[in-house]
């Protein structure tokens, strides 16, 4: 098992290298030197040169020990992302500040979504072929077709603004939990369509297997068959979906944070886009990729726990 983990870890090296290459090409090659834009319209030539030196755009792209690419690698791997273009604060600090608010939004949303979707999927699978099943599929497709933006806008408008059930926007001096309630709700409802459909398909696929018939032939009740026999098998595809979604929890929800003013990483990114601050986007991209790679490995390890057929040879 150790050998397997080591092998997988080794494989992540070319991937991380690849990610750094992609971000480099995007932000240094295609985009490049924007020191004049950072400095602003009325800046002097010295300021511009200072900025250029700070971000390293005065150095050659690839072909020297001090090249931009090498520095890019060095900086990313030490999580030193320099300073943001808009307000010149260290990016790593902004990231640290934004992590907690984002997580307080995405983690409850994620867990709620998971529990609700899987339970509903099992129930719907039980009623397969009946009107309940057909109706739920149709509702899922309808939910999936509504654009996410509309969910947020209408949700915010009706539930908060018009009917006053929830606060509309985040004010820094009040406790956070109140403010994440509505976005969490909206997030769950918006994602329900797609998730429920996926889990339902997984359950139905499992129900088609022969071992289900054997379980019934043994005299087990429907609940036991679904929640013990089918669920454990269904966990295998479900785990992929679930674990790989975890990295995205850190990035927060771009749109939800923007609309509700939650000062998390999503909000940070939206600001960065508006300000064309590539440095921040570069940093977030890299972090996102690292998290993804790590959780990929965790997924594989989880597989082995749930599925005894997976060995490490």
């Amino acid at each position: 098992m150790i050998a397997y983990i080591i092998r997988r870890l080794l494989y992540t090296i070319p991937i991380i290298f690849g990610v750094l290459l992609v971000t480099f090409i995007l932000f240094n090659v295609v985009s490049g030197d924007v020191s004049d834009q950072i400095a602003g319209k009325a800046a002097s030539a010295e300021t511009i040169a200072e900025i250029r030196a700070e971000y390293g755009w005065d150095k050659p792209l690839f072909l020297s020990w001090d090249s931009q690419f090498i520095n890019h690698l060095k900086n990313s791997l030490t999580f030193d992302f320099g300073r943001s273009w808009s307000d010149r604060e260290p990016i790593i600090d902004k990231i640290k500040q934004g992590a907690l608010p984002s997580l307080s939004l995405t983690i409850p949303m994620f867990i709620g979504e998971l529990i609700i979707s899987i339970s509903l999927a099992l129930i719907v699978a039980f009623f397969r072929g009946t009107i309940i099943d057909i109706l739920s599929v149709f509702i899922c497709v309808v939910l999936m077709s509504v654009p996410f933006l509309s969910f947020i806008l209408f949700g915010q408008y009706f539930l908060a603004f018009k009917w006053g059930l929830f606060p509309v926007y985040f004010w820094p001096d009040l406790p956070l939990p109140q403010y994440v309630a509505l976005p969490i709700l909206i997030g769950i409802v918006a994602g329900l369509g797609g998730n429920l459909r996926f889990y339902r398909t997984v359950m139905l696929d499992e129900l088609r297997n022969d071992y289900v018939r054997t379980a019934f032939a043994k005299g087990l009740g429907t609940g036991t068959v679904l929640f013990r026999h089918v669920l454990k098998n269904a966990m295998i595809p479900i785990i992929t979906q679930v674990v790989l979604a975890i990295p995205f929890l850190f990035l927060g929800s771009l749109l939800l944070e923007r609309f509700f003013g939650i000062p998390g990483l999503g909000y940070l990114m939206i600001d960065a886009i508006a300000a064309r601050d590539f440095q921040i986007i570069n940093a977030m991209t890299f972090i996102g990729a690292i998290l993804f790679v790590v959780f990929n490995l965790i997924t594989d390890i989880c597989y082995s726990i749930v599925d005894p057929r997976v060995s490490f040879e």
């Binding site: 990610v19 509504v146 990729a289």
Partner: protein, 306 residues
């Protein structure tokens, strides 16, 4: 005597029986026709001023009434016309993005699955890397970076193309969304490569490219179609988000931009522009989802009833 039915004829027959899917197809066709009409009018320089979205047709913020069925926006322009032009943006972008992602994903996937070895390693490395980056971030990054850049295609004799609004968006989406179709094709090709009919073709001296194009690709074609129809919706929704964030088309209305405008209008009680855009997006998404599902069911050999 039972007439032999080809795979495609069988699928078509099953699809036609699905009434809901057929209605959805009708809706999709309507959208396409509207968009084609606009392009045709532009191309033939026909006068379509009755559809001019930039024209002020009434007072600002008029509620929906007999004259302007969907009301007007903050400049008094017809929301109905803006919605129609929005369709042009969305469908064009989704279309080109699909083409680009298929043109990249299918050949790479087929090559990787067929030749294995070094080519496979490279392709897998590329798409694993790309898929490690969160999708939204990747699209945003591409869109941001590609704005205002010019593509120098002089060497291909195509001159220089200046990237703007629409082309930025579909390039960004297309260049980042080919991973799934690539994986799919690669897996299928690997499976098919082991089958006897490929061995047979090789044994009578078929060249590699002939095998790929004449034997393998037709057998995975149904996957391409399914992927195309199912991802189209995603592309439309991606474009909406990009437009909303200000990275999309600026010179012509788009649904995302309309929703963006609605953000501030809604609290003031002006709900019609937002509703129109939402309804337009919802309708085409629903139709594509239903049709795409029915298409996949009819083309999936595993689901064929004996």
């Amino acid at each position: 005597m039972i007439k032999g039915r080809s795979y495609w004829a069988d699928s078509l027959r099953q699809l036609r029986k699905h009434t809901l899917a057929m209605y959805s197809l009708g809706i999709i066709v309507v959208y396409i026709l509207v968009v084609m009409f606009i392009y045709l009018a532009n191309w033939t320089k026909t006068d379509v001023s009755f559809l001019d979205w930039n024209q002020q047709v009434g007072k600002e913020y008029e509620k929906p009434n007999k004259q302007n069925i969907l009301g007007t926006d903050f400049l008094g322009r017809s929301v109905l016309r803006k919605t129609i032009y929005g369709a042009r943006v969305s469908l064009t972008i989704a279309f080109w993005a699909s083409i680009i992602s298929i043109l990249i994903g299918v050949p790479l996937g087929a090559a990787a699955g067929y030749f294995r070895g070094f080519i496979d390693d490279i392709v897998v490395w590329i798409y694993t890397t790309l898929s490690s980056i969160p999708y939204i971030l990747l699209i945003l990054a591409f869109a941001l970076v590609l704005r205002g850049k010019t593509l120098n295609l002089n060497s291909l004799g195509l001159g220089t193309i200046s990237l703007s609004g629409i082309s930025t968006v579909y390039l960004a989406i297309g260049l980042t969304s080919w991973v799934d179709i690539c994986r799919l094709i690669r897996a299928e090709v690997m499976k098919h490569k082991q089958r006897e009919y490929i061995l047979a073709a090789l044994s009578y001296g078929c060249s590699n490219s002939r095998i790929i194009f004449r034997h393998l690709i037709p057998n995975v074609f149904h996957l391409i179609i399914i992927s195309f129809s199912l991802r189209f919706v995603g592309f439309i929704q991606a474009e909406v988000i990009l437009s909303f964030l200000g990275l999309g088309e600026k010179n012509s209305p788009s649904w995302g931009a309309m929703i963006d405008a609605a953000r501030l209008d809604l609290p003031k009680g002006y709900w019609w522009e937002m509703t129109a855009a939402t309804a337009a997006i919802f309708l085409i998404s629903l139709a594509l989802n239903i049709f795409g599902d029915a298409l996949r069911d009819s083309l999936d050999p595993k689901l064929k009833v004996q």
